[in-house]
């Protein structure tokens, strides 16, 4: 390590000798990636980490080396900065990726639980960054509460329910095709909370599922707990914003487009929220998704 420290100020004439990287440099690069794999660790808290971050920004050869180490481990580098540290995300087949089955055993076997867990993560992100501008603004810190996320999704579901009723649709699913049940209905009929013997949150309730999601995101270094009100209050970190903006959002978006649902433009009409809101002229709601700030 000391070698690395000593080398750091040296490579000023690096432009002349770009290939002069030693095994010590490789070790430093790997160490930087290792720091990045501890998502709760911030450069501001660790001098060695901060030094390596600075070197990554100032020394292009070292930066390439570190990025290569990350790529070799199956990691995607989102950003390297003093605020976020070495923000790396797991590639799809990486050993670092989180699988739904490991996340929740029930979700592996039960399709509606699987959906609810995924939806909880999407809803947490949607409420943490309610406007497109919030997601784009690097300085934005989102704040969420567990009960708030649950109530938010419930509200959205209730509006869909009301709309279905207004249109005279029968939203009760056919008994022999549970997969065709509307997604909002799965959420709406799951109870919000429930008493348990040991005063913990009922794992299968929606606040339990959202609570699990935020607890997991805290461990991922994406959220920080700030209080206990309303089921637990949390604020977002720079890493979470990067992860949602650069990876998760676009991945989900691609999947949605693949399903033929185009949130803007002329997709299939029945699946299009903006068209329906125009019919209902719900002024406030129109502002939410599509004409928002």
């Amino acid at each position: 390590m000391d070698d690395g420290e000593n080398l750091a100020p040296a490579p000023e004439p690096q432009a002349d000798r770009p290939a002069a990287l030693t095994p010590a440099d490789a070790a430093d690069a790997a160490r930087l990636v290792a720091f990045g794999l501890q998502p709760k660790l911030l450069p501001a808290r660790d001098a060695e980490y901060a030094d390596l971050i600075r070197r990554h920004r100032e020394d292009p050869a070292f930066a390439r080396l570190a990025d290569a180490v990350a790529a070799g481990l199956g990691l995607v580098v989102l950003e390297v900065s003093p605020r976020a540290g070495m923000a790396v995300a797991a590639g799809e087949d990486s050993v670092f990726a989180v699988r739904m089955g490991d996340y929740s055993r029930r979700a592996a076997s039960d399709s509606s639980d699987r959906f609810l867990h995924g939806l909880a993560h999407l809803a947490v992100a949607a409420l943490a960054f309610p406007r497109p501008a919030d997601l784009a603004d690097d300085g934005y810190i989102g704040r969420i509460t567990v009960n708030g996320v649950d109530a938010f999704v419930r509200q959205a579901c209730r509006r869909l329910e009301e709309r279905a009723e207004e249109h005279g649709e029968n939203s009760d699913p056919a008994s022999d095709a549970p997969g065709l049940e509307a997604a909002w209905r799965v959420y709406a009929r799951r109870s919000a909370t429930g008493a348990t013997k040991d005063a913990r949150r009922l794992a299968g309730s929606t606040t339990g599922i959202v609570g699990k999601a935020v607890a997991f995101l805290v461990d991922s270094g994406f959220l920080q707990r700030t209080g206990d009100e309303a089921g637990g209050t949390y604020r977002t970190t720079a890493r979470y914003q990067l992860q949602v903006r650069d990876l998760a959002g676009s991945a989900a978006m691609a999947e949605l487009l693949d399903l033929g649902v185009v949130p803007v433009g002329d997709g299939t009409a029945s699946l299009l929220p903006p068209d329906e809101t125009a019919d209902l002229d719900l002024v406030a709601e129109a502002g939410l998704p599509f004409h928002g700030s």
């Binding site: 990691l75 670092f96 739904m100 939806l119 999407l122 509200q155 998760a248 406030a284 998704p289």
Partner: protein
């Protein structure tokens, strides 16, 4: 309810309209099924439970939850169980209290349907689709649901379905149903049919609760996201409507209250008297709920403005990002769950972060397994001593001065004094004291009789102006006569209890 006979006269399959009416009634019927089910399943319980009428206990439970459902929270689980017990005990007086509690708890848990992961019920019914095909559908509903309360507690609320089953007025408009119920009540009272009047009053109360619940939801949504609620028209309209409603009901119910009070006082038959007294309680409760609703409504406007400030004045970013709600969440929710899962799965796979897989050596594992668990500190971490800073004293008068003034004004009840004399005496003690004495004397000119009455004070300072001019170097005005009045504390306490129990015992007292 739509008329079931509006369907077309085609002989083959009934039209969708008729079918819809049928489906509606099937759903209503389904809501009662859990209650019947209780009586069927009680035979399967270990023990001799056939003497208990489970459906009756269940309906009573729904009643209790609905009535204790306040604006903010719901009913407490244990409290409901406790309040159910007298009824359960009455059904089987010979059994132990433990069994009564067990039965009450069993009924309540079955109404929540604790065993199922959704904590709800499902009924299957069939309809003919537009193409004439017969489809079986699932109808999911809850009777009592558990909602999060402050501090992580869990409260119970009755769902709309339960309230509808209970009141028996399916699919009716809240406002009009309430008006109807109240008009009915008035008529009934005028005719002296109090037994029916009570039923109508209770129904009015359920309606009131339901109305408050509808409003609570809308206000809560506003607090979460201003843009999610139509604040241009829908909500202001609703608030105005609700305020009108409250004003109207309040007038109405006060009129009813006066009427029933009169009926209560004039009724000679003890049974009538008792019923009227109960009715007074119910109407009083209705008024209380209206007042609560009104104060919430008045808070709505400022709440909206504060939320708008908070939510709207964030600095806009340079580039537009992805709209997570509008472009992802909102379009996903209406999709069939099978397809929606693909999107949420994709988000989950990329949005949860990474986990470093554990790599364990056998040596470490053995050590880890053999390490005794850490003793948890029973009392938790030590609280740091708070660093308190004394706030500077900024009152005009000191405690000692107040004491001196009060001592001066502690007059015997049979010897009132002139203010001029009091002021002179005060001046002798302390040049500042006359100001305090004068202030207290002026306050005594309008003595807080109501407070003294409520708090059961023994004596009360009063001051009367008899027209004499005050001759004083510092003060002008009337030379008040200041005295102390003795209050009949015991008599007032008796009056208060009588007022609170609103005539329940009044019939017997007279």
């Amino acid at each position: 309810m739509p008329h079931p006979n509006t369907g077309s006269p085609r002989p083959v399959a009934p039209g969708p309209a008729a079918d819809e009416g049928l489906a509606r009634r099937l759903k209503a019927l389904a809501c009662t099924a859990p209650l019947h089910d209780l009586d069927v399943r009680k035979a399967n319980l270990a023990g001799e439970y056939s003497t208990y009428a489970m459906a009756e206990v269940a309906l009573a439970a729904i009643d209790l939850v609905t009535l204790t459902m306040d604006f903010d929270t719901g009913a407490d689980h244990d409290q409901i169980v406790a309040r159910l017990q007298p009824r359960v005990a009455a059904q089987a007086p010979g059994r132990s209290a433990g069994e009564h509690e067990r039965v009450a708890r069993w009924v309540l848990e079955n109404l929540i349907n604790v065993g199922s992961v959704d904590r709800g019920f499902r009924a299957v019914y069939g309809t003919f689709g537009a193409d004439g095909r017969y489809v079986r559908r699932d109808y999911d509903f809850k009777l009592i649901e558990e909602v999060p309360g402050p501090g992580g507690t869990v409260y119970l609320r009755t769902t709309d379905e339960a309230v509808n089953v209970l009141v028996g007025a399916l699919d009716t408009d809240v406002t009009s149903a309430q008006i109807a119920a109240e008009v009915k009540l008035e008529v009934l009272i005028n005719r002296g049919r109090l037994a029916d009047a009570q039923l109508a009053a209770e129904q009015a109360r359920y309606r009131t609760v339901q109305y408050a619940e509808t409003l609570r939801r809308a206000l809560e949504a506003t607090r979460r996201d201003v843009r999610a609620v139509d604040w241009l028209r829908a909500v202001p309209d609703m608030i105005n409507e609700a305020l009108d409603h409250v004003a109207d009901r309040y007038r109405h119910e006060n009129a009813i209250l006066t009427n029933i009070r009169k009926a209560r006082d004039e009724a000679t038959e003890p049974e009538h008297k008792r019923r009227a007294a109960e009715l007074v309680d119910i109407v009083k409760d209705c008024i209380r709920r209206h007042t609560q609703l009104q104060s919430r409504l008045l808070e709505a406007g400022p709440l909206f403005r504060a939320e708008q400030d908070r939510q709207a004045f964030a600095t806009p970013a340079a580039r537009a990002g992805l709209d997570l709600y509008g472009q992802l969440l909102a379009p996903v929710l209406p999709l069939p769950v099978e397809r929606a899962s693909r999107v949420t799965d994709a988000f989950f796979a990329r949005g949860t972060g990474l986990r470093t897989p554990p790599a364990v050596r056998v040596g470490d594992l053995i050590e880890a397994l053999l390490t005794p668990p850490l003793e948890r500190e029973h009392l938790g971490a030590e609280l740091p001593e708070p660093d308190l800073v004394a706030t500077p004293e900024d009152s005009r008068f000191t405690e000692a001065q107040l004491e001196a003034a009060l001592e001066l004004l502690d007059l015997p009840h049979d010897a009132p004094r002139r203010l001029s004399g009091l002021l002179a005496e005060a001046r002798r003690r302390d040049p500042e004291l006359p100001y305090l004495v004068a202030l207290l004397a002026v306050h005594a000119a309008s003595p807080p009789v109501g407070t003294a009455y409520r708090q059961g004070e023994q004596r009360l300072l009063f001051a009367v102006d008899d027209g004499a001019e005050l001759d004083d170097p510092e003060f002008g005005g009337a030379d008040l006569i200041v005295g102390a009045a003795l209050l009949d504390a015991a008599g007032m306490a008796l009056d208060r209890t009588v007022e609170n129990t609103a005539g329940k015992d009044e019939g017997h007292r007279e």
